[in-house]
């Protein structure tokens, strides 16, 4: 006789808990596997430490320390951008702000109004963030040394000295220094020959070309001045100076026609 059971089909007992993801393909020798893993970790950490030492010994990052940055009202912006890892962008933004501070609404000319009192500081702000920003040195030194209403060649020389220190192989800075020195002695022939070296560089700022063209004109070398203005007009990078170049070309051609 069968005994009465309140549960004719009792539910099956739950299966034993299996740790998910650790249940299959496990090593039959867990201790050996753990030892192997420790070995891998030690190897990786050693490689990490050793490679870090090698990286530092083979190359030192060529940037000034934070204490050398020129921190004005935009100091926080510079520091935050550098800390986020975008140093070159920080230099570009500082450069645009420098251009805005020097902007006169048109191309910069030697007879431009304005004394550009903060120009040296603005330039050093750019070049302390990125010491290899060539155009910043050349552009500002050009304004400080050649602009009639500015005429602060000492500041221009300070900027160029920093440029030479950071870019010792770049001879354009030395030519520029020479040109400033001869300009102070009013030896414009020497000034022109030194600026010619700078203008031969493909990334020479339009401002320097305009200064050289004006020096040619001042010394009566009209043909050279005309050729240089024509080259400025042909260079799309110098678009700020195109209107001025057209004007000068018209003037110089007019004087040629009157003469011959």
């Amino acid at each position: 006789m069968e005994l009465y059971s309140p549960h004719p089909n009792p539910p099956a007992p739950p299966p034993p808990a299996i740790p998910v993801g650790n249940h299959s393909r496990g090593s039959p020798y867990p201790h050996r596997e753990r030892g192997f893993q420790c070995l891998i970790l030690v190897g990786l950490v050693s490689l990490l430490i050793f490679s870090q030492r090698k990286i530092r010994s083979l190359y030192t990052l060529p940037f000034p320390h934070f204490q050398e940055l020129v921190l004005g009202p935009e100091g926080l912006q510079d520091v935050v951008t550098i800390l986020a890892g975008f140093r070159s962008v920080a230099a570009d933004v500082a450069w645009v702000q420098l251009l805005q501070n020097t902007s006169s609404g048109g191309p910069l000319e030697e007879n431009a109004q304005g004394t550009f009192l903060t120009l040296k500081k603005d330039t050093l702000r750019v070049t302390r963030i990125d010491p290899y920003f060539r155009e910043a040195y050349l552009f500002s030194a050009g304004i400080l040394a050649w602009f009639q209403h500015v005429n602060r060649p000492e500041e221009a020389l300070d900027i160029l000295r920093e440029g030479i220190r950071n870019n010792p192989n770049d001879w354009v800075f030395r030519s520029y220094v020479g040109a400033i020195v001869y300009k102070r002695k009013e030896d414009f022939g020497k000034v022109a020959s030194l600026l010619e070296d700078a203008v031969r560089q493909p990334d020479c700022p339009g401002l320097v070309k305009a200064i050289l063209a004006n020096t040619y004109k001042k010394t009566g070398q009209y043909r050279k001045a005309l050729n240089l203005w024509e080259s400025i007009l042909d260079d799309p990078r110098n678009s700020d100076y195109h209107a001025r170049a057209r004007e000068q070309i018209r003037e110089l051609e007019g004087s040629f026609n009157r003469r011959y």
């Binding site: 998910v20 993801g21 083979l58 990125d130 770049d170």
Partner: protein
């Protein structure tokens, strides 16, 4: 190996189908277009600015994307319990971690490559002639993204909230760019304890400034070729250590 490649494929598909991936791509396009407008303010340095903004924008988007994705990668699966479905298959936890990391990294690398192609196109239109250093700078950014991604994964397993993991990862990102300064301050410090503390932080934090080749490619003194090899070894070792520790933390979790 088969299990890892299957997880990589699954992760890659998951990311490429995600709406965020498309949004980031669109944002990248807007950023490149915006850099064209902004660079016109730089007068004769337009190409330089286009180059800098494009490379920086690519890296920034990749870093933000990898931090966001990596932090949520495993946390979301743990919360939704879908992780048990995957791990019920014959997959080791280490394989799962490695596959998920590599799949995410590959999807970000593909996005970065697409942005780089567009960027080079824009640069060439502006009169720039391609140089090898661009590829090196791009690869360095990729290395940085790999290190940040592995750190984000480790921190997401270390902490239980996505917000705190993201905050810690971004903190390491900034500290990584400050580590050279930190070392300099350490040299100046007189107190031995402070010196030791700074030294320790410097050793643990990845030195991200070395990955910014775009910042010093115009410097007169360039790193020797061996340096790049050591950078690759450093990146692999850092990522390896982070993944190893992530695997350890993940293996301690109960589902």
């Amino acid at each position: 190996m088969k299990a890892i490649s299957a997880i990589i494929g699954y992760t890659l598909k998951q990311h490429l189908r995600h709406r965020m991936y498309l949004t980031v791509g669109l944002f990248g396009l807007v950023l490149l277009g915006g850099s064209l407008v902004v660079s016109s303010l730089a007068a004769e340095e337009q190409v330089r600015m286009l180059l800098d903004l494009g490379l920086a924008g690519t890296e920034l988007l990749a870093l933000l994307a990898i931090v966001f994705v990596m932090v949520n990668l495993i946390l979301e699966e743990i919360d939704s319990r879908s992780i048990t479905l995957i791990l019920a298959h014959p997959v080791r936890r280490s394989e799962y971690i490695l596959g998920r990391f590599l799949g995410t990294f590959l999807s970000i690398a593909m996005g970065m490559a697409a942005m780089a192609v567009l960027h080079v196109g824009v640069l060439m239109l502006a009169g720039w002639s391609p140089r090898w250093i661009y590829a090196i700078a791009w690869a360095s950014s990729l290395g940085k993204v790999a290190v940040v991604g592995s750190l984000a994964l480790l921190l997401s397993l270390f902490s239980t909230s996505a917000a705190s993991s993201m905050t810690f990862t971004i903190f390491f990102w900034i500290l990584g760019h400050f580590s050279e300064e930190l070392r300099f301050l350490g040299e100046k410090a007189g107190n031995g304890l402070v010196k030791a503390l700074i030294w320790m932080i410097g050793e643990i934090t990845p030195n991200f400034s070395y990955y910014n080749i775009r910042d010093f490619w115009a410097a007169p003194l360039q790193p020797p070729p061996a340096w790049f090899g050591w950078m690759a070894a450093y990146t692999l070792a850092y990522v390896g250590v982070c993944l190893f520790l992530s695997n350890f933390l993940f293996s301690q979790k109960e589902f």
